[in-house]
Symmetry: C2
Subunit: 144 residues, 2 copies
DNA sequence: TTTAATTCCCACTTATTCAGTAGGATTATA
DNA sequence: TATAATCCTACTGAATAAGTGGGAATTAAA
Protein backbone atom coordinates (compact mmCIF):
# COMPACT_ATOMS: atom_id res chain seq x y z
CA UNK A 1 0.00 0.00 0.00
CA UNK A 2 2.89 2.35 -0.57
CA UNK A 3 3.04 5.31 -2.91
CA UNK A 4 6.23 5.14 -4.97
CA UNK A 5 8.90 7.80 -5.17
CA UNK A 6 7.61 8.65 -8.61
CA UNK A 7 4.30 9.91 -7.28
CA UNK A 8 5.84 11.52 -4.23
CA UNK A 9 8.51 13.34 -6.21
CA UNK A 10 5.98 14.47 -8.80
CA UNK A 11 3.94 16.09 -6.05
CA UNK A 12 6.98 17.79 -4.54
CA UNK A 13 8.07 18.90 -7.98
CA UNK A 14 4.71 20.53 -8.69
CA UNK A 15 4.65 22.12 -5.26
CA UNK A 16 8.18 23.43 -5.78
CA UNK A 17 7.17 25.02 -9.08
CA UNK A 18 4.21 26.60 -7.32
CA UNK A 19 6.26 27.78 -4.36
CA UNK A 20 9.13 29.35 -6.27
CA UNK A 21 7.14 30.65 -9.21
CA UNK A 22 8.21 34.10 -10.43
CA UNK A 23 6.89 33.89 -13.96
CA UNK A 24 10.33 32.79 -15.20
CA UNK A 25 11.01 29.13 -16.05
CA UNK A 26 12.50 27.06 -13.22
CA UNK A 27 15.15 24.50 -14.13
CA UNK A 28 14.94 20.93 -12.90
CA UNK A 29 18.41 21.36 -11.46
CA UNK A 30 17.12 24.02 -9.09
CA UNK A 31 14.16 21.91 -8.09
CA UNK A 32 16.43 18.91 -7.60
CA UNK A 33 18.77 20.88 -5.38
CA UNK A 34 15.98 22.30 -3.22
CA UNK A 35 14.11 19.03 -2.94
CA UNK A 36 17.20 16.87 -2.63
CA UNK A 37 16.15 14.62 -5.48
CA UNK A 38 18.36 13.37 -8.32
CA UNK A 39 17.85 15.74 -11.25
CA UNK A 40 18.23 12.84 -13.65
CA UNK A 41 15.34 11.10 -11.97
CA UNK A 42 13.17 14.21 -12.08
CA UNK A 43 13.96 14.40 -15.76
CA UNK A 44 12.36 11.00 -16.07
CA UNK A 45 9.29 11.96 -14.08
CA UNK A 46 8.39 15.26 -15.65
CA UNK A 47 7.53 14.15 -19.22
CA UNK A 48 4.18 12.75 -18.13
CA UNK A 49 3.33 16.02 -16.36
CA UNK A 50 4.39 17.84 -19.48
CA UNK A 51 2.42 15.67 -21.90
CA UNK A 52 -0.64 16.04 -19.70
CA UNK A 53 -0.29 19.79 -19.97
CA UNK A 54 0.26 20.27 -16.25
CA UNK A 55 3.55 22.09 -16.81
CA UNK A 56 4.90 24.17 -19.67
CA UNK A 57 8.49 23.57 -20.72
CA UNK A 58 10.92 26.14 -22.07
CA UNK A 59 13.93 24.66 -23.83
CA UNK A 60 17.45 26.01 -24.10
CA UNK A 61 19.60 28.02 -21.71
CA UNK A 62 17.64 29.76 -18.96
CA UNK A 63 14.85 27.34 -19.79
CA UNK A 64 12.93 25.18 -17.38
CA UNK A 65 9.37 24.56 -16.37
CA UNK A 66 6.35 26.54 -15.25
CA UNK A 67 2.97 25.48 -13.95
CA UNK A 68 0.50 25.74 -16.82
CA UNK A 69 -2.36 26.76 -14.54
CA UNK A 70 -3.08 28.23 -11.12
CA UNK A 71 -2.18 26.06 -8.11
CA UNK A 72 -5.84 25.75 -7.16
CA UNK A 73 -6.50 24.05 -10.52
CA UNK A 74 -4.42 21.01 -9.58
CA UNK A 75 -5.65 18.38 -7.17
CA UNK A 76 -3.26 15.98 -5.53
CA UNK A 77 -5.26 13.19 -7.14
CA UNK A 78 -4.60 14.50 -10.65
CA UNK A 79 -0.88 14.52 -10.04
CA UNK A 80 -0.66 11.18 -8.28
CA UNK A 81 -2.79 9.36 -10.84
CA UNK A 82 -0.62 10.59 -13.63
CA UNK A 83 2.52 9.10 -12.13
CA UNK A 84 1.18 6.25 -10.01
CA UNK A 85 -1.66 5.17 -12.23
CA UNK A 86 -5.02 4.32 -10.71
CA UNK A 87 -4.93 4.63 -6.92
CA UNK A 88 -7.29 1.70 -6.32
CA UNK A 89 -5.93 -0.88 -3.84
CA UNK A 90 -6.76 -3.82 -6.17
CA UNK A 91 -7.51 -4.25 -9.85
CA UNK A 92 -11.12 -5.28 -9.40
CA UNK A 93 -12.21 -1.80 -8.30
CA UNK A 94 -11.29 1.68 -9.52
CA UNK A 95 -11.28 3.45 -12.85
CA UNK A 96 -11.38 0.43 -15.15
CA UNK A 97 -12.01 -2.58 -12.93
CA UNK A 98 -10.90 -6.05 -13.96
CA UNK A 99 -13.85 -8.24 -13.04
CA UNK A 100 -13.27 -11.73 -11.72
CA UNK A 101 -15.64 -14.72 -11.63
CA UNK A 102 -16.87 -13.81 -8.19
CA UNK A 103 -17.22 -10.08 -8.56
CA UNK A 104 -20.96 -10.21 -8.14
CA UNK A 105 -21.04 -11.83 -4.75
CA UNK A 106 -17.65 -10.82 -3.43
CA UNK A 107 -17.95 -9.19 -0.03
CA UNK A 108 -14.24 -8.52 0.03
CA UNK A 109 -14.49 -6.32 -3.06
CA UNK A 110 -16.74 -4.03 -1.03
CA UNK A 111 -13.82 -3.44 1.31
CA UNK A 112 -11.51 -2.50 -1.54
CA UNK A 113 -14.15 -0.27 -2.98
CA UNK A 114 -14.55 1.60 0.28
CA UNK A 115 -10.81 2.04 0.62
CA UNK A 116 -10.72 3.34 -2.93
CA UNK A 117 -13.50 5.84 -2.22
CA UNK A 118 -11.82 7.01 0.97
CA UNK A 119 -8.48 7.61 -0.73
CA UNK A 120 -10.08 9.43 -3.65
CA UNK A 121 -12.10 11.55 -1.28
CA UNK A 122 -8.86 12.79 0.25
CA UNK A 123 -6.69 13.31 -2.81
CA UNK A 124 -9.41 14.86 -4.95
CA UNK A 125 -10.12 17.50 -2.33
CA UNK A 126 -6.65 18.83 -1.74
CA UNK A 127 -5.16 21.24 -4.29
CA UNK A 128 -1.68 22.62 -4.71
CA UNK A 129 -3.07 25.89 -3.35
CA UNK A 130 -3.94 24.09 -0.12
CA UNK A 131 -0.38 22.78 0.10
CA UNK A 132 0.95 26.31 -0.38
CA UNK A 133 -1.28 27.47 2.46
CA UNK A 134 -0.10 24.73 4.74
CA UNK A 135 3.50 25.54 3.96
CA UNK A 136 3.09 29.17 4.90
CA UNK A 137 1.40 28.08 8.12
CA UNK A 138 4.47 26.09 8.97
CA UNK A 139 6.70 29.02 8.13
CA UNK A 140 4.69 31.28 10.46
CA UNK A 141 4.97 28.73 13.18
CA UNK A 142 8.57 27.63 13.00
CA UNK A 143 10.75 30.02 11.07
CA UNK A 144 9.49 33.54 11.54
CA UNK B 1 -0.87 1.78 -3.86
CA UNK B 2 -1.81 -1.85 -4.32
CA UNK B 3 -2.56 -4.42 -1.65
CA UNK B 4 -0.61 -7.60 -2.33
CA UNK B 5 -2.04 -11.07 -2.77
CA UNK B 6 -0.76 -11.88 0.68
CA UNK B 7 -3.12 -9.46 2.36
CA UNK B 8 -5.99 -10.21 0.01
CA UNK B 9 -5.65 -13.96 0.43
CA UNK B 10 -5.34 -13.66 4.19
CA UNK B 11 -8.64 -11.82 4.29
CA UNK B 12 -10.35 -14.38 2.06
CA UNK B 13 -8.85 -17.15 4.15
CA UNK B 14 -10.22 -15.71 7.36
CA UNK B 15 -13.59 -15.09 5.77
CA UNK B 16 -13.65 -18.65 4.46
CA UNK B 17 -12.96 -20.01 7.94
CA UNK B 18 -15.78 -17.85 9.25
CA UNK B 19 -18.17 -18.81 6.48
CA UNK B 20 -17.67 -22.56 6.63
CA UNK B 21 -17.16 -22.87 10.34
CA UNK B 22 -18.83 -25.93 11.91
CA UNK B 23 -16.68 -26.22 15.00
CA UNK B 24 -14.48 -28.80 13.26
CA UNK B 25 -11.05 -27.83 11.92
CA UNK B 26 -11.00 -26.77 8.26
CA UNK B 27 -8.02 -27.87 6.19
CA UNK B 28 -6.11 -25.43 4.02
CA UNK B 29 -6.73 -27.73 1.09
CA UNK B 30 -10.46 -27.13 1.38
CA UNK B 31 -10.00 -23.40 1.67
CA UNK B 32 -7.63 -23.41 -1.28
CA UNK B 33 -10.11 -25.31 -3.42
CA UNK B 34 -13.02 -23.03 -2.56
CA UNK B 35 -11.04 -19.84 -2.92
CA UNK B 36 -9.04 -20.97 -5.94
CA UNK B 37 -5.76 -20.19 -4.28
CA UNK B 38 -2.64 -22.39 -4.24
CA UNK B 39 -2.70 -24.37 -0.99
CA UNK B 40 1.06 -24.17 -0.80
CA UNK B 41 0.85 -20.41 -0.87
CA UNK B 42 -1.84 -20.35 1.81
CA UNK B 43 0.46 -22.51 3.89
CA UNK B 44 2.95 -19.69 3.70
CA UNK B 45 0.45 -17.04 4.66
CA UNK B 46 -1.24 -18.65 7.61
CA UNK B 47 1.69 -18.86 10.08
CA UNK B 48 1.48 -15.16 10.86
CA UNK B 49 -2.24 -15.44 11.53
CA UNK B 50 -1.48 -18.44 13.70
CA UNK B 51 1.32 -16.81 15.65
CA UNK B 52 -0.87 -13.76 16.24
CA UNK B 53 -3.49 -16.04 17.73
CA UNK B 54 -6.09 -15.20 15.09
CA UNK B 55 -6.55 -18.85 14.17
CA UNK B 56 -6.12 -22.08 16.11
CA UNK B 57 -4.36 -24.93 14.34
CA UNK B 58 -5.05 -28.63 14.81
CA UNK B 59 -2.29 -30.89 13.56
CA UNK B 60 -2.52 -34.38 12.15
CA UNK B 61 -5.11 -36.08 9.98
CA UNK B 62 -8.54 -34.39 10.04
CA UNK B 63 -6.70 -31.34 11.33
CA UNK B 64 -6.89 -27.83 10.03
CA UNK B 65 -7.68 -24.37 11.30
CA UNK B 66 -10.39 -22.62 13.23
CA UNK B 67 -11.01 -18.97 14.00
CA UNK B 68 -9.83 -18.39 17.55
CA UNK B 69 -12.54 -15.80 18.23
CA UNK B 70 -15.90 -14.63 16.98
CA UNK B 71 -15.99 -13.01 13.53
CA UNK B 72 -16.99 -9.68 15.05
CA UNK B 73 -13.72 -9.67 17.01
CA UNK B 74 -11.61 -9.32 13.85
CA UNK B 75 -11.36 -6.11 11.93
CA UNK B 76 -10.14 -6.06 8.36
CA UNK B 77 -7.37 -3.76 9.55
CA UNK B 78 -6.05 -6.33 12.02
CA UNK B 79 -5.80 -8.95 9.30
CA UNK B 80 -4.31 -6.72 6.64
CA UNK B 81 -1.72 -5.20 8.94
CA UNK B 82 -0.52 -8.61 9.95
CA UNK B 83 0.22 -9.65 6.40
CA UNK B 84 0.83 -6.33 4.65
CA UNK B 85 2.54 -4.51 7.45
CA UNK B 86 1.64 -0.90 8.19
CA UNK B 87 -0.95 0.40 5.73
CA UNK B 88 0.49 3.92 5.63
CA UNK B 89 1.15 5.20 2.09
CA UNK B 90 4.67 6.38 2.97
CA UNK B 91 7.18 5.67 5.72
CA UNK B 92 7.05 9.13 7.26
CA UNK B 93 3.53 8.63 8.62
CA UNK B 94 1.78 5.68 10.27
CA UNK B 95 2.53 3.43 13.19
CA UNK B 96 6.25 4.11 13.57
CA UNK B 97 7.04 7.00 11.27
CA UNK B 98 10.53 7.50 9.87
CA UNK B 99 11.11 11.22 10.22
CA UNK B 100 13.05 13.09 7.55
CA UNK B 101 14.86 16.43 7.77
CA UNK B 102 11.81 18.31 6.59
CA UNK B 103 9.14 16.54 8.57
CA UNK B 104 8.34 19.64 10.57
CA UNK B 105 7.42 21.88 7.68
CA UNK B 106 6.41 19.29 5.13
CA UNK B 107 2.99 20.11 3.71
CA UNK B 108 3.10 16.96 1.62
CA UNK B 109 3.29 14.78 4.72
CA UNK B 110 -0.10 16.15 5.70
CA UNK B 111 -1.52 14.59 2.53
CA UNK B 112 -0.02 11.19 3.39
CA UNK B 113 -1.29 11.49 6.91
CA UNK B 114 -4.83 12.17 5.72
CA UNK B 115 -4.72 9.23 3.34
CA UNK B 116 -3.47 7.07 6.17
CA UNK B 117 -6.31 8.21 8.44
CA UNK B 118 -8.89 7.63 5.72
CA UNK B 119 -7.71 4.10 5.03
CA UNK B 120 -7.54 3.21 8.70
CA UNK B 121 -11.00 4.63 9.25
CA UNK B 122 -12.32 2.15 6.70
CA UNK B 123 -10.42 -1.00 7.60
CA UNK B 124 -10.74 -0.57 11.35
CA UNK B 125 -14.50 -0.30 11.11
CA UNK B 126 -15.27 -3.40 9.09
CA UNK B 127 -15.25 -6.76 10.85
CA UNK B 128 -15.43 -10.30 9.54
CA UNK B 129 -19.00 -10.33 10.82
CA UNK B 130 -19.80 -7.46 8.47
CA UNK B 131 -18.33 -9.43 5.57
CA UNK B 132 -20.47 -12.43 6.52
CA UNK B 133 -23.53 -10.18 6.47
CA UNK B 134 -22.65 -8.77 3.09
CA UNK B 135 -22.16 -12.24 1.73
CA UNK B 136 -25.59 -13.39 2.82
CA UNK B 137 -27.10 -10.27 1.27
CA UNK B 138 -25.58 -11.27 -2.02
CA UNK B 139 -26.88 -14.79 -1.63
CA UNK B 140 -30.40 -13.48 -1.01
CA UNK B 141 -30.13 -11.30 -4.04
CA UNK B 142 -28.57 -13.55 -6.62
CA UNK B 143 -28.78 -17.22 -5.70
CA UNK B 144 -31.98 -17.82 -3.79
C1' DT C 1 29.07 32.91 -33.68
C1' DT C 2 30.40 30.19 -30.24
C1' DT C 3 29.62 28.54 -25.55
C1' DA C 4 26.98 27.05 -21.99
C1' DA C 5 22.75 25.73 -20.08
C1' DT C 6 18.93 23.48 -20.59
C1' DT C 7 15.18 20.14 -22.15
C1' DC C 8 14.48 15.80 -24.52
C1' DC C 9 15.06 10.82 -25.40
C1' DC C 10 16.38 6.16 -24.70
C1' DA C 11 18.97 2.50 -22.92
C1' DC C 12 21.00 0.24 -18.97
C1' DT C 13 21.53 -1.35 -14.04
C1' DT C 14 21.05 -3.03 -9.42
C1' DA C 15 18.33 -4.33 -5.63
C1' DT C 16 14.10 -5.61 -3.84
C1' DT C 17 9.60 -7.41 -3.72
C1' DC C 18 5.94 -10.47 -5.52
C1' DA C 19 3.94 -14.60 -6.17
C1' DG C 20 4.47 -18.51 -5.91
C1' DT C 21 6.97 -23.93 -5.95
C1' DA C 22 9.26 -27.79 -3.88
C1' DG C 23 10.59 -31.05 -0.53
C1' DG C 24 10.58 -33.06 3.53
C1' DA C 25 9.87 -33.36 8.81
C1' DT C 26 6.42 -33.72 12.35
C1' DT C 27 2.02 -34.89 14.31
C1' DA C 28 -2.22 -37.20 14.99
C1' DT C 29 -6.33 -39.93 13.45
C1' DA C 30 -8.62 -43.94 11.70
C1' DT D 1 0.65 -48.45 10.24
C1' DA D 2 -0.99 -45.80 6.43
C1' DT D 3 -2.74 -41.45 5.59
C1' DA D 4 -3.84 -36.75 6.06
C1' DA D 5 -2.79 -32.85 7.79
C1' DT D 6 0.27 -28.92 9.74
C1' DC D 7 4.97 -27.12 10.03
C1' DC D 8 9.43 -25.33 8.29
C1' DT D 9 12.90 -23.81 5.17
C1' DA D 10 14.82 -23.02 0.92
C1' DC D 11 14.53 -21.89 -3.84
C1' DT D 12 12.91 -19.52 -8.26
C1' DG D 13 11.43 -16.57 -12.05
C1' DA D 14 9.28 -12.36 -13.18
C1' DA D 15 8.19 -7.90 -12.36
C1' DT D 16 8.80 -3.43 -10.28
C1' DA D 17 11.44 0.32 -8.00
C1' DA D 18 14.66 3.58 -8.02
C1' DG D 19 17.70 5.25 -10.08
C1' DT D 20 22.30 6.20 -13.59
C1' DG D 21 24.48 7.41 -18.00
C1' DG D 22 25.19 9.22 -22.53
C1' DG D 23 24.17 12.03 -25.99
C1' DA D 24 21.10 14.85 -29.34
C1' DA D 25 18.39 19.11 -29.92
C1' DT D 26 17.39 23.74 -28.61
C1' DT D 27 18.12 28.43 -27.22
C1' DA D 28 19.88 32.49 -24.45
C1' DA D 29 23.82 34.97 -23.45
C1' DA D 30 28.83 36.11 -23.96
Amino acid sequence: MKISTKGRYALRLMLDLATYNTGEPISLKDVAKRQQISDKYLEQIIPSLNRAGYVRSVRGAQGGYLLAKEPKEYTVGMILRLTEGDLAPVNCVGENPVSCDYSENCAVAKVWSRINDAVNQVVDNITLADLLDWQSDYVDQYII
